[in-house]
């Protein structure tokens, strides 16, 4: 049960880290798109190049913008190739110009004003701060994260119940021992201490075995992540706080065993005069 709890807990932490990373990576960037100018190909390309220069000048003059650079034709083709295939065909297609904008950290920028100024300077320019698609992605991920936390809670409750009932059953088996110790004059606290100590050690031992098979499992996920398609899931390593939580699970299981054993012994003793 500690293994299942640890896997679910790791999943929740990894997902949370992933969302934070997406948010952090995207929040410092903007994209300006300039639609292809109407007219013949040569003329349209010339017009687009001129628009790009205007927009770049405007961006460079905007406070808070650290860097703005237009993507080359090769870069644009490279972006579309995975979806549209043939690069020959793409080279012949009129592609919009894309300008990648990097913002200075910790700088507030009025995106609405910037958008208006861009449109005023170049009517075919539009500003994309990635918020729309990121909000959807993060919404989906938060939903999955909530589900993972729900699973962690359910597994946690099941783990606690399993430890509780296993310890209680163990105590029932030892009822004779409890009775004999009671009859020879041991106090309730003394008897409870003997069983609680043993239950703690057993709980800790079981928890450590569970942890022993969790660590390689989480390690394999982190190792295999970079090989996954898309790069979005590249960083699947467990954060430090996650490791602390996972490593604390055996201790939690042991403490739960201790408390349960104490309660079971006291309950058994409570039925004796």
């Amino acid at each position: 049960m500690v293994f299942l709890s640890a896997i679910a807990l790791s999943g929740a932490f990894i997902l949370s880290g992933l969302i934070e990373r997406w948010d952090r990576d995207v929040s410092g960037t903007l994209t300006v798109e300039i639609a292809v100018a109407p007219g013949e190909a040569g003329e349209a390309a010339e017009k687009t190049r001129s628009d790009v220069a205007v927009v770049l000048r405007l961006l460079e003059a905007t406070p808070g913008v650290a860097k703005a650079h237009a993507l080359s034709q090769e870069q644009l083709v490279g972006l579309l190739a995975p979806w549209l295939g043939s690069t020959e065909l793409l080279n012949e297609l009129p592609l919009p110009a894309l300008i990648d904008v990097t913002l200075k950290p910790d700088t507030a920028i009025d995106l609405a004003d910037l958008g208006n100024r861009l449109t005023a300077a170049v009517p075919r320019a539009s500003l994309d701060d990635h918020r729309m698609w990121l909000a959807r992605l993060i919404g989906l991920s938060r939903g999955i994260e909530g589900l993972a936390i729900g699973i962690v809670l359910i597994i946690g409750i099941v783990t606690a119940s399993t430890v509780h009932y296993a310890t209680r059953s163990g105590m029932a088996v030892h009822r004779d021992v409890i009775e004999v110790m009671h009859m020879i004059g041991a106090t309730d606290a003394y008897i409870a201490r003997q069983f609680a100590r043993r239950a703690f050690l057993l709980g800790l031992k079981g928890g450590l075995y569970g942890l022993l098979i969790t660590v390689p499992a989480v390690g394999v996920i982190a190792y295999e992540a970079p090989a996954m398609q898309g790069g979005l899931l590249a960083d699947l390593s467990l954060p430090a706080v996650g490791w602390i939580a996972v490593l604390a699970l055996p201790v939690c299981a042991a403490l739960l065993s201790l408390v349960t054993a104490r309660a079971a012994v006291y309950r058994t003793l409570g039925r004796m005069p």
Binding site: V177, V180, M181, I184, G185, T187, M272
Partner: protein
């Protein structure tokens, strides 16, 4: 006798000498289980400090039930019980362990702890009472040697014969040099020679001031020992 801790310095290991005339007093005690008939009725007796009694009677007469009440494993349905001068009815639950440590019990079914060695089983009352490990290692092996189990200090109860287990149970009951020793059929599984040896142990304890009650079917043993009897028949007590 050199088997018992003499210093009595351990927490709860020794008590004040019983300053009351009687160690056990039963007044109009009755016992019934659930709503069944009374299995012990109107039990009245008093055991003077330092006395030695046999508790006799046919099977089912209630000997074990009477002993259970005396070693505080069960409360009577009615009547008054004074143990070491204390009225049990008004004794708080947390005070009972100290009283129990003054009582040694030899259970009919031995009730040894199977996960402990012979030495650890016998040492249990001393450890519960807070005796030092030095005392444990000093007195327990000597007592086990006296009951003929010197070679079985590390043996678990499961590998001992019935007679050997019984002797371990007796050693556990007497190691704390109790004020009151209650033995339920303590010689049921041993031959006559060992039985007399165990009785000698009880007598020695008795000479040291322990009040002894031995429940037994062994009529020849009772006859040889010439000690007063408490006879239970039909749930009532005769003699005492």
């Amino acid at each position: 006798m050199q088997f018992f801790p003499a210093g009595r310095g351990g927490r709860g290991l020794r008590r004040q000498p019983a300053d009351k005339t009687h160690v056990v007093q039963f007044q109009g005690v009755g016992v019934r289980y659930e709503h069944g008939p009374e299995i012990l009725q109107d039990i009245d007796f008093a055991l003077p400090a330092g006395s030695f009694h046999f508790l006799t009677g046919p099977s089912g007469a209630g000997k074990s039930s009477l002993l259970r009440i005396m070693y505080l494993a069960q409360r009577p349905s009615r009547g008054r019980i004074l143990l070491f001068g204390r009225d049990i009815a008004s004794t708080r639950r947390y005070e009972l362990p100290a009283l129990r440590r003054r009582i040694g019990v030899v259970f009919q079914d031995f009730r040894l702890l199977n996960h402990l060695s012979t030495l650890d089983n016998v040492a249990l009352p001393l450890r519960v009472a807070g005796a030092s490990e030095t005392d444990v290692q000093k007195f327990v092996p000597d007592l086990l040697a006296w009951v003929g189990l010197a070679d079985h200090l590390k043996s678990r109860p499961a590998v001992l014969s019935g007679g050997q287990q019984q002797r371990v149970a007796i050693a556990r009951a007497v190691i704390g040099r109790p004020d009151l020793l209650l033995a339920d059929e303590p010689t049921g599984n041993v031959d006559d020679e060992i039985a007399m040896r165990l009785m000698y142990l009880f007598e020695e304890l008795n000479k040291l001031g322990t009040t002894v009650v031995v429940a037994t079917h062994n009529e020849s043993l009772v006859a040889r020992m010439s000690r007063p009897q408490l006879r239970l028949e039909g749930g009532r007590l005769w003699g005492g």
